[in-house]
Each structure stands twice: as C-alpha cells, then as structure tokens.
C-alpha cells in the first residue's frame, strides 16, 4: 500500500514539474557525456597550459609554451600535410563512392542488400590488420612489386610504401564505407520521377546529374564528406604503418607526445589546435555548402 502511494505521489510530482521529469530522463546520458567526454576534455585543456614533468605527467606551472612551440615549420608542415591528405582522401572517396552508391541504390532490390553487405564486410576485421595487409602488398618485396616484376613491367621495385600515396590509399580504403553508406541513403530516397522529369525537360544525363541528382543528394554528400574528413585528419594507424616517419600526420604527433615522448602538455595542445581547426573547417564547409538549404529552410 505504502509503495503504491509513493509511486502515485511521485508521478503526480513529475506531472506538476515536467522540467524535473525531463532532467531525470536525461540524467544517465548527461552523466555519460560528462564523465567520459567533458571531463577528459577539461583535463586536456588544463594540461595544455601546464609544464611537463620530467617523466611524464605535469607540473602545476602555467605556460603558453605548448602552444607557441607549435608555431614551428616542422609542426605546421605536419598539420598542413594532415589537412591536405584528408582533403584529398575525401575528394577521392567522393569520386569513387558516389558512382558506387548510385549503382547500388539503382540496382535490383534483391542485389542491393548483398552489395551493401559487401561494402561493410571489411569492417568485420580490425583496420590494424587490414592496414598490415596493405603493407604486405605495397612494400618493396610485396605482392604488387612482385607481380609487376614478374610481368616485366618494371625492372627495379617501386617505392610504394612509406609515401603519401600509400597513406591516401590506406585512408581511402579504410573510410570507403563511411562515404558510401550516407550517399546510398540519400540516393536511395531520391524520387525517380524527378530524374525522368529532368530528362523529359531536355536534360542530358550529365546535366541531369549536375542539376538534379547532386543538389537532391546534398545531405548525403555533406554527411559522407564529414564522416571521412574528420576521422582522416586525426588518423594515426594508417599514416603510422603506411607513411612511416617521412609522412607523419598530426595524429602520429599527438600519439608520439602521449607515448614515447611523454610530453602530455604538448600532446594536449596539439590536440586542441587540431580540434579548433577541424571545427572551424567543418562550420565553414557547412555554411558554404549547406547554407542555401538552411536559408531556404528558415523562410
């Protein structure tokens, strides 16, 4: 009896205070984000303004040095390379991913799921292992060089591994599903009669693609590009294994600071610099590419 009375009183209380109720529902989620996302971020922000201790960890001395240190041609070059490679990866994946997603979306219904399954299949093994596999293919005595020599296309093995090209290949390979899936989702939703209407109004296939298909699948293009670009900038397994020391990316730099160099403050500062630039880049991109739609929506 007493328990039921309590329950009813509790329900009545929640009905009178809907905000408290909403807060109650959100609590677990807020706890999760707070503990596992915000708190570490606060730690990192704090660390980035402190001096390093001799054997890892920090000393409670305020300094700007971790940020000023970054303004060094060496680090700026790494940052620039990271963005260049990520940008190229995104572009390459758009070029490969769009026709792929289009083809899958237009395929016969019973083929569609099989094809999508094939796109996602590589996810089933760790990307570490898949990247190692690429090493075996690309290295001087690897599969590709062996085949080319065997077929007498080349005499001496080509340097494929530890180049920017290898990183591009690896990133494009790892992130392909991130591009194809959102593109597929938006192309699949495309109303076919719009494509017929475009053709009916005199549009050649190319013009139709440019003026109807692309604008109407913009959400997929935006989503796919962001899903590829953001993780690519911070990637470290692929550049580490396929790029080596010559083509270091910012992810490797951060990893290096937290790992072997034991310079957590500098690693934190590098992370924050990366995060800030990525956020700025994403906002600019969304404003630039998605702006018209957003404006139109606001009307």
């Amino acid at each position: 009896m007493e328990r039921i009375g309590l329950r009813i009183r509790l329900l009545k209380f929640f009905n009178r205070h809907p905000h408290t109720k909403a807060f109650g529902i959100l609590l677990p989620c807020m706890f999760w984000i707070g503990v596992f996302f915000l708190l570490p971020l606060v730690f990192m922000a704090t660390y980035s303004f402190l001096e390093r201790a001799l054997y890892g960890g920090v000393q409670l001395i305020f300094t700007w040095e971790n940020y000023t240190r970054f303004v060094d041609p060496l680090y700026l070059k790494i940052l620039l390379r990271s963005f260049r490679i990520s940008f190229l990866t995104t572009v390459i994946l758009l070029i490969i991913g769009y026709p792929m997603a289009y083809r899958i979306a237009m395929a016969d219904k019973r083929w569609r799921n099989i094809l999508l399954f094939l796109v996602v299949l590589p996810f089933w093994t760790s990307d570490l292992i898949r990247t190692y596999a690429w090493m075996l293919i690309l290295r001087d005595t690897g599969l590709l060089n062996f085949l080319l020599q065997y077929l007498h296309v080349i005499k001496k093995p080509l340097t494929l591994l530890y180049t920017e090209g290898a990183i591009l290949l690896g990133l494009a390979y790892v992130y392909l599903p991130f591009m194809v899936l959102p593109l597929y989702a938006s192309i699949e939703k495309l109303d076919r009669s719009l494509l017929e209407a475009a053709e009916d109004l005199g549009a050649t296939p190319f013009w139709r693609f440019l003026k109807v298909t692309v604008p109407l699948t913009k959400s997929g293009i935006l989503a796919g590009s962001l899903l590829v670009f953001i993780p690519s900038v911070g990637a470290f397994i692929v550049p580490d294994l396929l790029g080596g020391a010559k083509a270091m990316m910012i992810g490797n730099l951060v990893q290096l600071q937290f790992g072997p160099s034991r310079n957590w403050p500098f690693g934190s500062a590098a992370s924050f610099i990366l995060m800030t630039i990525v956020l700025l880049a994403v906002f600019t991109y969304l404003r630039f590419a998605g702006g018209k739609e957003a404006m139109e929506e606001a009307r």
Partner: protein, 363 residues
Amino acid sequence: MEFTVELNRVTKKFGDVVAADNVSLQIGRGEFFSLLGPSGCGKTTTLRLIAGFEEPTEGEIFINNENVRDKRPYERDVNTVFQSYALFPHLTVAGNIAFGLERKKTPRHEMGRLIEEALDLVRLKGMGDRYPRQLSGGQQQRVALARALVLKPEVLLLDEPLGALDLKLRKEMQLELKSLQEKVGITFIYVTHDQEEALTMSDRIAVMERGRLEQVGTPEEIYEFPKTRFVADFIGVSNFFSGQVIRAEGETLLVRTDGNLDVTLPLDHGFTEGQRVQFSIRPEKFSVGPQGKGRDGENELVGEIANRIYLGGSIHYVIALSAEEKVTVFLKNERTAGQQPSFSVGERVTVSWHRDDSVILGD
C-alpha cells in the same frame, strides 16, 4: 490529316507481361486525345513509350513523321506532366519553369518574359519565388503544366494530372485544361481512368483494356456506339442482353434473348440465322408508360418495377422484363404541377425503345 504522333503496331513486354499489345494510333495536330481504361490497361505504358521512358519491344513510333526509335526522352519534342507532378523541390517555381528553357539555351532576358507568360497562363502570377512545397496540390499541378508548356512542345503528355486533386478542383481544372489546350493549340495526349473526365475534355478517346485498344473514337461514338462489351460497360451504364438470331427481316434482325424475349435489332449482315448475338442498350434510351408509343421500329415489352431510386433531377428504375432479365432505366424527372406521376415499385409498365438504340457488340 496530318499526324503529330503515330504508333505503328507497338508492343511492349515487361518479362512475360504484355503491357501494350499491338497498339496502332494516329493522333492529329492540335487534338485533345485521351487514353482511357482501368488501371493496368497499358495506358500509362503507352504514354511512356511516346515520351521515350520505355522502348517498344516491337513496332514503331513517329513524332512529326519522324521515327523516334533512337531518340532519348531529352531529344524528343514532347513534354510530360507527371501524375506526381515531379516538381524539383530544390528549385523555386520560376526555377522549375526555367529548367527546360536553360537547356534550350534561351537568352536571359527572354527567359524572364517566358516564365512570366507561363505563370500568367496557368494563373500563378507572382508565385515565381515560392518553393513547390509551399503550394497547394492544385497550384503544384499548374506549375507542372507551366513547366512543360513553356517549352512549346509538339505534344504534351499528361499522366492522370488531376488524379490527386479533390472532386471540385478536378472539375474546375478539367474545364481549365481544355480551354488552355484550345488556346495553345498543342496536341494533348491525356491518360485517365475517369470516363467522365475523358468524355468532358477529349476530341477523341482510345479505350484500352489489357494492353489492347478496344475502340478509338469521339466521345459521342464511344458512348453511343460501343464496339465491345468492355467499352459499353466501362463507359456509362449499359443493359446487356445476349440471345440467338431468329431471322433477318427487312431492316431488322429478329432476336430471341436468353430470357425468351423477342426483340428487334438493326440489321447487321454479319449475322445469320441461329447465331449468338450480344447487344446493349443505354438506360436513358428507354421510355416507360402505361402503354407503348407504337412508333415504327419500336420494341415494346411489359415489365414490373423492381426498384426505384429518386435522384431529384432524374429517377432510376430497375424493371424486370423476365425472370432473369432486368433493365436499368433512367428517366428525367418531368413532373410539373399536378402532372406526371412517377412509377412505384411493383407497378406493371410497358418499356419501349427503338431498335436502332440497341447496339450490337463484338467480343
């Protein structure tokens, strides 16, 4: 006569399904031509064949006396108004109308004028900046129309364009479409399953069923002289009879129906004694009275009123002529002060009609 569109023995198969079966049509310049039939009869397929969205399995299609076999839809001088309108959601009304004009490389200044004209034509002046989703169904329909008409095609194809509108708006748009078509003088090929719509608007109608053409003719021909049972049944209401030819006599064919009624039909030399014959009579062709009028060529039968539906302007009766044979009769309500009583259920009356109002049907 000059034909804008000609179909020569066109067949379209989807796997084992024959969507269009040996269809031959000639559609004249400036004609309002309707393809009428129930869903799945092949009317939309026929339209899509003309537009170029489908390729015929067999046969040829000519537009302006030119074989369009190898022409893609964007190379054909036809435009389509789609059932779903298919307006581009990311473009404004003006942008939608400009879409085709841009492809035709129309100069900028002229484009603005043409768009204004087109909007004016469909009574959407000042709506150019709106987006399709901000418009009502009827307005979207007009945009679809303007978008196609602005290109001044030889032929405009319309795929049930009024299907999504409510009844009142549909009636309005029917008249509007018809007068629009007369104004622009473009050949309209209009797909509909609504017989009334087809009768209202068309110069000629092709009735289709199971991929085949049942009959092609003016609304009057189709209604008054249906060639097949399907046409007689699909368009309007018909009373069907079947029976056996007894003999030909002068201008008439003497027939005994399966319900053992002796009636006369107009003479048809295709029939000989003993042959089976099917015919139909429209419900408004009958007259009903205490006794017949005794005109020459008149059939007179006695029946009993089985059912009566009062509709105000008219009264519908079902009259039993024999145990199996009942006819539906539409009579105008001719009641004036103190006159013309209508008939009541159970009353015995004489039903009469002229033999020439019976239409002999093919299979």
